[in-house]
């Protein structure tokens, strides 16, 4: 079961399980920025803004009052009986092998996952209307989402999921502006001041998301409130943009400086990951901060320097000049390879058949773990489900659970879910053959030769923690804590998205309909013409003309004055 997650504080918990989401504080609004220098030399910055809304829709009261929660989203929740909503817009592909796991995974393009209340009857109609409203709010073409590219997974996204990935969505400023408008302080104060679209989009990876879910208000979880989490993840390639200098600072990255904390926010913090930099060998924080914080993030124990922006003193003296030069040594240590990693590509040649290969890497040296693979393939790639093979280390690896929903032409896509056990230190390959369908000529996109996108596969798993893997006791830890690995650190939840596929479909010559009309008409006209000719021509019996010898003989006989033959 992919959702049995026990880490209480992390953001990557799959939604739905309320029991494990404990709200320790009642603070309505929090904002934080995590900066993590990556081993590739890039800087990963992750913003999170959280707002809580104390309300319940059980009351039959139409009046709704919003204080920090944005009104437009609140209306969406109450009108469409939404239980959870997750929407993300991403540009660029997260390079797991170079950058490690992201705090919040998201597929390239746009993704929308919604859970509706059980009371809702017409899910399809509501889904259609909801996508239209959301595309209005976020200035995105989510209205292209319809039944042909929507799936209802059985296991991967608990509880009742209906979701979609659109890949042709290009994220740009017009999506960021409405996203910023949802923040209580807008982009006027607090961390949001740093969000200058010109810089944010000049980056290797950009992902913005909105997550709405119910969370517990108290320990017994009798009442819930709504949590709105807005996240923005950006990877800056400072080496390229900084003319070869490995220097970074807040101003260099965002070309803005922090001026004041958002007065509405109860907590406003900047975390800088200094785990790989405990002695300051890679970079130096100036000014230094005395505050340190440790947390287990993605199964790994990380140390962060914390800057608290709500503290006037800290804020006034330090944050105005937060400047962080970094000098990397030639090769700053090997990055731990991510334990779970996936790739996908299309094989085959020609325009008739092909094969989808999905490679899942388990880099754990000695533990195997199960993963849940979710594949949603458009109907125009007709999957041959009997060709499905799963192999690990050259041997057949039979999935313990397979859920397959075949597509219906122009109605719904293929849905394939599998639970596969990944052996330790191995590559598991899933192959599936398909045939390309011929579309109707109006169904092609305006640029059909560019190819058609197939959304990312989603791989959800509980991955054994690195902390638990750490057996040589190199870190300072009390002996009594290290004999049995503690339970909540033994595994953590990860969702990995593969690359989207670009598949070429056989594209016709688009003047074809007219050519067909002309050709058919010509054939008809030729047939009809000869028939008409045969029917209307009048036939006459013609005297056969005399032979040449006879004619010559007759001429001679005429000259002689003898009657002709």
């Amino acid at each position: 079961e992919a959702n049995a997650v026990i880490i209480p504080q992390c953001s990557h918990i799959p939604p739905g399980r309320r029991g494990c989401l404990m709200e320790t504080t009642v603070s309505p609004n929090k904002e934080e920025l995590v900066i993590r220098p990556l081993h590739s030399g890039d800087i990963y910055t992750s913003f999170q803004f959280r707002t809580l809304w104390e309300t319940d829709f059980t009351r039959e009261n139409k009046v709704s009052h919003y204080r920090l929660f944005p009104k437009s989203l609140g209306q969406v929740i109450s009108k469409f009986s939404v239980r959870e909503l997750h929407i993300s817009f991403t540009q660029g592909y997260w390079r797991t092998m170079q950058w490690g796991q992201p705090y919040l995974p998201s597929p390239p393009g746009a993704e929308l996952w919604v859970w509706f209340q059980d009371s809702l009857t017409d899910v399809d109609g509501t889904w259609k209307e909801l996508t239209n409203v959301l595309s209005g709010i976020f200035c995105a073409s989510l209205n292209f989402i319809d039944s042909t590219n929507t799936v209802q997974p059985s296991a991967s996204f608990k509880p009742l999921g209906i979701g979609n990935v659109t890949d042709h969505q290009i994220v740009c400023t017009e999506n960021l502006t409405p996203w910023k408008k949802l923040l209580p302080c807008g982009s006027k104060a607090g961390l949001a001041v740093l969000l200058k679209s010109e810089k944010l989009f000049h980056s290797s990876f950009h992902s913005q998301a909105v997550h709405i879910r119910p969370v517990c208000k108290d320990d017994q979880c009798k009442t819930t409130s709504w949590e709105l989490r807005q996240t923005l993840n950006v990877v800056f390639d400072l080496h390229n943009s900084g003319q070869g200098k490995n220097e970074w600072s807040l101003f260099k990255m965002f070309s803005r400086t922090l001026t004041e904390a958002c007065p509405v926010a109860s907590s406003s913090k900047i975390y800088i990951d200094i785990t790989d930099n405990s002695q300051g060998e890679q970079f130096e924080l100036s000014p230094a901060t005395p505050l340190l914080s440790q947390a287990v993030v993605l199964g790994d124990r990380r140390t962060f320097s914390v800057y608290d922006l709500t503290q006037q003193i800290t804020f006034g003296t330090i944050c105005n000049v937060l400047k962080l030069p970094v000098t990397y040594s030639a090769h700053a240590g090997d990055m731990l390879r991510p334990l779970l990693h996936a790739e996908r590509y299309v094989a085959g040649y020609g325009l008739q058949t092909g094969e989808i290969h999905t490679l899942m890497y388990n880099n754990h040296p000695y533990r195997s773990f199960p993963v849940l693979l979710l594949d949603s393939v458009p109907w125009y790639l007709r999957l041959y489900i009997h060709t499905l093979t799963v192999t690990s280390k050259g041997k057949d690896n039979k999935p313990s659970y397979i859920h397959y929903q075949p597509s219906k032409d122009r109605v719904r896509p293929h849905l394939l879910e599998m639970l596969v056990q990944l052996p330790p230190n191995s590559v598991t390959e899933v192959t599936l053959q398909f045939e390309r369908a011929l579309l109707k000529w109006t169904e092609y996109t305006p640029d059909p030769n560019h190819g058609f996108y197939v959304g990312s596969s989603v791989i959800s798993s509980l991955v054994p923690s690195i902390v638990a893997m750490d057996t040589n006791n190199s870190r300072e830890r009390p002996l009594f804590s290290s004999f049995f690995p503690s339970k909540e650190e033994s595994s953590y939840f990860v969702r990995v998205y593969t690359e989207p596929l670009l598949v070429n479909l056989p594209t016709p010559d688009f003047s074809m309909p007219y050519n067909v009309i002309c050709l058919t008409c010509t054939v008809v006209a030729v047939g009809y013409g000869s028939l008409y000719n045969l029917l209307t021509r009048s036939f006459q019996i013609e005297e056969p003309s005399p032979g040449l010898a006879k004619r010559i003989a007759n001429i001679i006989r005429k000259m002689r004055g003898v009657p002709p033959l």
Partner: protein
């Protein structure tokens, strides 16, 4: 020779029969298969509606109190009299509004006044009580008193009592009763304003045009949004009890207005929401001022933050409460005469209202920011309620001299004010729905290629039926039903007009159609035409040959 002739006749017959097959079978087949589906529309009824003959009738009951009629006049009652008033508003398709006024004198002299006051009268009707001149019910200089319900008290003047008969008495009272009707039900200007999108308003004074443009257009529902703008959250921590205020002040009015439209209310707080103009500093009074001229520029930057309504497409009424930041406070709005506006609020027609709320009294010498501020909702809601009445079209026109209007009660709206609104809304709805249906019919008539699906035809006919019902109910004076039907008419007419199937890409230009048809039609028709020509020319030649033979 004979066989040749037979052959030729056979050929001609074959050509003729092929031509006949093409004409009898081919052409209808082609016509049928390329035809667009057009469901039947009630065109004649729509054309009739386009003339828009509206009759509004209001029941007016006149009750005479003891001592107002002489015994011989009393004998003649009850008596019913119908008064027609004809108003003409220019316009080509629209002719006239007739207002038959039925004076039904159920004049029970003994009727107890107070008992009658309690009795409910149906919406749209009026009861006028005539009281003696000497009555002390009304103050000295007041002739007419308009109550909270659908009642009015009328003091009978000495000059009115000259007539011997009841008809004469009524004839004398008629101008007064007409005035009462204009105040309590509808007047010429109301109806003209309601018809403004059909009929061009005759260029009157600017003020009346502005008045008629202020209220929102009639709609089946409205969204009311209260926004608290806090441009300076660093200095002010604002608390407003909007739930309680809405419950106390706004909800009663909306409950009363529920026959007219559905309302939904929400509120929000916006931080760092600035006004679009910089207020001017008045050094003499050390206050900041906003001039009336600059108010037009205030709204736009704020509106970007307000956010459109995601959940419905009804018009939104915005009410903004602006707390000026600590550095631009106090802030006062000045009118055109450079006078301070007492409410410190203004409204924008068909958009909403803005109120500036100064919080300077919360500052003390040694105030530590942020200051906690509790907003006095009674003060705020008083202003917003007045603006809401204006924007919803509840007109508080100044009554003629000698009239006294009772202050509105808890609901903030008297029964007759609701009636007045319902009259003008019904007329406006009917006019809008008629315009929509007429223009749709015109469009469909002009573009023959548009497919008319059955559901559109059904919407159109239901709109037409509702319109006819609404018009007849107005004529009968059943105001509630008329409004209900007119709302239905608007809904179905809009649904038909904005149906996406009417916009489908089915309309190919004619030249492209010919380009597709030519490869088929040309090779088929040319031989047929040629052989037909040949047959005709041969027949003519034969005819000519026959003539000389006869000669």
């Amino acid at each position: 020779m004979a066989t040749t002739e037979v052959e030729r006749r056979r050929g001609q017959l074959a050509a003729l029969s092929i031509a006949a097959v093409v004409i009898i079978v081919g052409v209808p087949l082609w016509w049928r298969t390329t035809e667009t589906y057009r469901a039947w529309l009630p065109v004649s009824q729509i054309k009739e509606l386009a003339k828009l003959q509206l009759h509004l009738s209001a029941d007016v009951e006149v009750v005479f109190a003891r001592g107002t009629v002489t015994p011989e006049q009393q004998k003649k009652v009850p008596l019913t009299q119908t008064q027609n008033m004809e108003h003409r508003v220019d316009g080509d398709s629209f002719n006239a509004i007739l207002t038959p006024m039925r004076l039904s004198n159920s004049a029970s002299v003994e009727a107890d006044l107070s008992l009658h006051t309690l009795s409910e009268s149906p919406s749209g009707s009026l009861v006028v009580y005539v009281i003696p001149e000497s009555s002390s019910l009304l103050p000295q200089n007041v002739d007419v008193y308009i109550g909270q319900r659908r009642t009015a008290l009328l003091r009978i003047g000495s000059q009115m009592r000259v007539g011997k008969t009841l008809e004469q008495l009524l004839a004398h009272m008629e101008p007064r009763i007409k005035q009462v009707l204009h105040v309590m039900s509808f007047s010429h200007t109301d109806i003209t304003a309601a018809l403004s999108n059909r009929v061009r308003i005759s260029p009157g004074n600017k003020e009346s045009i502005a008045d008629s443009m202020r209220a929102f257009k009639s709609s089946p529902g409205y969204e009311i949004t209260f926004s608290l703008l806090n441009p300076d959250p660093k200095s002010h921590r604002l608390h407003w009890d909007i739930e309680g205020a809405v419950e106390t002040y706004i909800q009663p009015l909306l409950t009363k207005l529920s026959p007219v439209a559905n309302f939904s209310i929400d509120s929000q707080t916006l931080y760092y929401a600035m006004l679009g103009v910089n207020p001017r500093f008045d050094s003499s009074r050390s206050t900041y001022t906003l001039n009336a001229d600059s108010l037009a520029h205030v709204i736009n930057p704020v509106e970007a933050r307000l956010g459109s309504n995601a959940a419905s497409s009804n018009p939104v009424l915005n009410f903004l409460l602006y707390i000026p930041d600590a550095h631009h406070s106090p802030l006062y709005i000045h009118d055109h005469k450079k006078q301070q506006v007492p409410t410190n609020a203004f409204h924008s027609p068909r958009w909403g209202g803005i109120m500036v709320y100064n919080v300077n009294e919360f500052y003390e010498v040694d105030t530590v920011f942020p200051v906690d501020i509790n907003i006095d909702m009674a003060k705020v809601m008083g202003v917003f309620l007045a603006q809401l009445r204006l924007l919803l079209g509840v007109q508080s026109s100044t009554p003629p001299p000698g009239f006294l209007v009772a202050p509105c009660g808890n609901a903030g709206l008297a029964d007759w004010e609701l009636d007045r609104l319902m009259w003008s809304r019904s007329v406006e709805n009917i006019a809008t729905a008629t315009t929509t249906i007429t223009s749709l019919a015109q469009l469909l008539d002009q573009i023959g290629n548009i497919v008319i699906n059955d559901n559109i035809a059904q919407q159109v006919s239901s709109a037409v039926t509702s319109l006819q019902l609404a018009v007849s109910e107005l004529e009968a004076g059943n105001l509630g039903f008329a409004l209900q039907y007119s709302k239905e008419a608007i809904l179905s007419s809009e649904r038909a007009f904005f149906d996406p199937s009417l916009l489908h890409l089915l309309y190919f230009p004619d030249d492209q159609k010919f380009a597709i048809y030519i490869p088929l039609f040309l090779p088929m028709c040319v031989p047929i035409l040629l052989s037909l020509l040949k047959i005709v020319s041969e027949a003519r030649q034969k005819h000519r040959e026959k003539k000389p033979k006869k000669d």
